[in-house]
C-alpha cells in the first residue's frame, strides 16, 4: 500500500513522517508521472495559490482527477481542502481547484495569522482531537453527496465524500496519528457512493 503526498510546497514532510509511523509506504509526488500505483494522495497544507499555480504549470489537475476516478483516494488538509472543493470563495483570480468534492470552501475564512488558533474538536468516529488552525479556510456549505465530520464554532472544519476527506486544520502538526489512521483504514479504498 503506497500513499503519495503532493510535494510541490508546504508541509508534505510532516505527512510523510506520520504515514511512515503508521507503517505506510509514503512517497513525495512532484510530477504527474509519480501518481501511478498510488492508493491514496494527500494534498498538504501550504499556500493554496502557490500550490495551485505549480499544479497548473506541471499539469496535475487532469491526472489527479483521472487517478481518483480509477480508485486513488484523496485527502486535503487546509490548502489541500481548498484544492478539492467544487467551489472556492475568496480565491485569487484564475486560482483553479480540482472541483472533486461537493463542498464550498472559503479561503482564509478564520482570519489572518494573529487569529490562528488551536482548539479541541469532536471528530466523527475519532473523538476529541486537538485541531491546529493556521490562516484556515472553513467549509461554507456541504452538498448532498458529502457528510460533515467535525465543526468548530458552527463552521464545518472536516468533511468526507466516499474516498475523499477534507480537513481545514493540520493533523500533521500534532503528532496525534488518529486522523491519519482514519484516512488509511477507513477512507482509502472506499469508493464514492
Amino acid at each position: 500500500m503506497r500513499i503519495g503526498v503532493l510535494a510541490l510546497q508546504g508541509a508534505f514532510r510532516e505527512h510523510i513522517l506520520m504515514l511512515e509511523t503508521l507503517g505506510v509506504d509514503a512517497v513525495p509526488v512532484r510530477l504527474p508521472s509519480q501518481l501511478a500505483d498510488l492508493v491514496g494522495l494527500i494534498i498538504p497544507g501550504g499556500e493554496s495559490t502557490a500550490i495551485s499555480k505549480l499544479m497548473d504549470t506541471y499539469a496535475f489537475f487532469d491526472p489527479i482527477r483521472q487517478h481518483h476516478q480509477a480508485g486513488m483516494s484523496l485527502w486535503g488538509t487546509c490548502a489541500g481542502a481548498i484544492l478539492l472543493a467544487e467551489e472556492v470563495i475568496d480565491a485569487t483570480p484564475g486560482q483553479e481547484s480540482l472541483r472533486l468534492m461537493d463542498v464550498v470552501a472559503r479561503r482564509n475564512a478564520f482570519g489572518r495569522q494573529v487569529d490562528s488558533f488551536e482548539t479541541d474538536i469532536d471528530f466523527a468516529s475519532v473523538g476529541l482531537y486537538r485541531g491546529v488552525f493556521i490562516r484556515a479556510p472553513w467549509i461554507e456549505s456541504v452538498g448532498p453527496s458529502a457528510e460533515i465530520l467535525a465543526k468548530h464554532a458552527d463552521k464545518v472544519v472536516a468533511a468526507r465524500q466516499g474516498d475523499m476527506l477534507a480537513t481545514v486544520f493540520h493533523p500533521e502538526l500534532t503528532g496525534d496519528l488518529r486522523i491519519h489512521r482514519y484516512f488509511v483504514e477507513n477512507v482509502v479504498g472506499s469508493q464514492a457512493r
Binding site: 482564509n108 495569522q113 494573529v114 490562528s116 488558533f117 482548539t119 474538536i121
Partner: protein, 298 residues
C-alpha cells in the same frame, strides 16, 4: 483558554505557519503592484518594505520599519501571508506591525539595529517572528527568545550567494558537530554556543533545528535557489534579486519552480533560460566590514 480550550498565538500555531511556507519563495516587495506580481508568480508570502536591501545599501543612513500605509496597501492587495521588518530590538515597531495585521515579523539586520544588546522579546507577541542567524548558536539564541522561524542571513542586497552558502554550511556543520558529542559534553557545547542547554540537547538528539530554516541574502537566480535547497534549507527569501532584475515576473516564476524542483537539473536548465538581465551584484570584498549587514545581531 476558553470553551474547547481554544488558544491563539501558541508556539505550535506560530511555528505551524512557518511549516506551511516550506518549499516556497518569500519575495521582497515595495508596493501593491509588486506584491501582485509576486502572488501571481506563486510566492508563498511577501515581505513588505519601503526599499529592497540593494537600495537600502545605496541610500545609506538609518533604515527603519516601512511606512504603515505601504504595509496596509500590501496587506489589502494580496491574499497570501504578508511579512514586514522591524529593527533589531525595536519592540514598538513590532507592536505597530502586529496591530496592522501582518502575518509574520522579520526582526531584521537589513534595517539599522535599535538595540545593541537585546533582541525583541518575541514570546510577548501573538504574531510569529523570523530572525536571521549566521550559525547554530545565533539561531538557538533567537529561538530561545521566541522566534518561530530562522533564516540564514547571507549578505542582503548583494545578489551574491557566497555568504548565504557560508552561513548554511556553518549551520549544518554546527548541527553535525553537536550530534557527534557525548551527552556529558552538552553543557560545555551550550556554553560555546551561548545558547540554552535544553535547546542544545534537543538539536543534538534530533539532528535538526526545532523550527523551519529558510535561506536569504544573495539569491538572484533559479540555480541560486536550488543550490540553497540542496544545501538543506527549507525555502528561500529573495530580496533585491527579483525586482532589481530585467524581467521580475518571469524571474519570480522561475525561482518558484526551481525551489520546488531543486534536485531536477533538466528542469532547472529549462526554467533558467531567457530570464533577461539578473541584478548586477556586488563582490563581498568590496563591502567594508562595518557595512556588512550580517554582523548585526547579538
Amino acid at each position: 483558554m476558553t470553551e474547547n480550550n481554544m488558544e491563539i498565538g501558541t508556539l505550535r500555531v506560530k511555528t505551524g505557519l512557518a511549516e506551511m511556507l516550506k518549499g516556497g519563495v518569500i519575495m521582497d516587495v515595495v508596493n501593491a503592484e509588486q506584491a501582485r506580481i509576486a502572488e501571481d508568480a506563486g510566492a508563498v508570502a511577501v515581505m513588505a518594505l519601503e526599499r529592497v536591501p540593494a537600495d537600502i545599501r545605496a541610500v545609506g543612513g538609518v533604515a527603519r520599519m516601512a511606512d504603515p500605509t505601504i504595509v496596509e496597501q500590501i496587506v489589502g492587495t494580496v491574499s497570501i501571508p504578508v511579512m514586514a521588518k522591524c529593527r533589531i530590538g525595536h519592540f514598538v515597531e513590532a507592536q505597530i506591525l502586529q496591530s496592522l495585521g501582518v502575518d509574520f515579523i522579520d526582526e531584521s539586520e537589513v534595517l539599522t539595529p535599535a538595540d545593541d544588546k537585546y533582541h525583541v522579546d518575541k514570546e510577548a507577541f501573538t504574531v510569529p517572528f523570523v530572525c536571521g542567524a549566521k550559525d547554530l548558536g545565533e539561531a538557538l539564541r533567537r529561538i530561545a527568545e521566541g522566534a518561530a522561524m530562522v533564516r540564514t542571513k547571507g549578505e542582503p542586497g548583494t545578489g551574491n550567494i557566497i555568504e548565504a552558502v557560508r552561513h548554511m554550511r556553518t549551520m549544518t556543520d554546527g548541527i553535525a558537530w553537536l550530534a557527534g558529542l557525548r551527552s556529558e559534553q552538552v553543557y560545555d557545547a551550550a556554553k560555546q554556543l551561548q545558547a540554552p542547554v535544553e535547546l542544545v540537547r534537543w538539536v543534538r538528539e534530533n539532528r535538526k533545528l526545532p523550527v523551519v530554516n529558510f535561506s536569504a541574502g544573495g539569491i538572484a537566480t533559479p540555480a541560486d535557489a536550488a543550490l540553497m535547497m540542496q544545501l538543506g534549507c527549507d525555502g528561500v527569501f529573495v530580496g533585491s534579486g527579483i525586482f532589481k532584475s530585467g524581467d521580475p515576473a518571469k524571474r519570480a516564476r522561475a525561482i518558484v519552480e526551481a525551489t520546488t524542483h531543486f534536485a531536477d537539473a533538466e528542469l532547472l536548465a529549462e526554467v533558467s533560460r531567457n530570464l533577461g538581465e539578473p541584478m548586477v551584484g556586488i563582490d563581498i570584498s568590496q563591502i567594508p566590514a562595518a557595512e556588512r549587514m550580517q554582523e548585526r545581531g547579538w
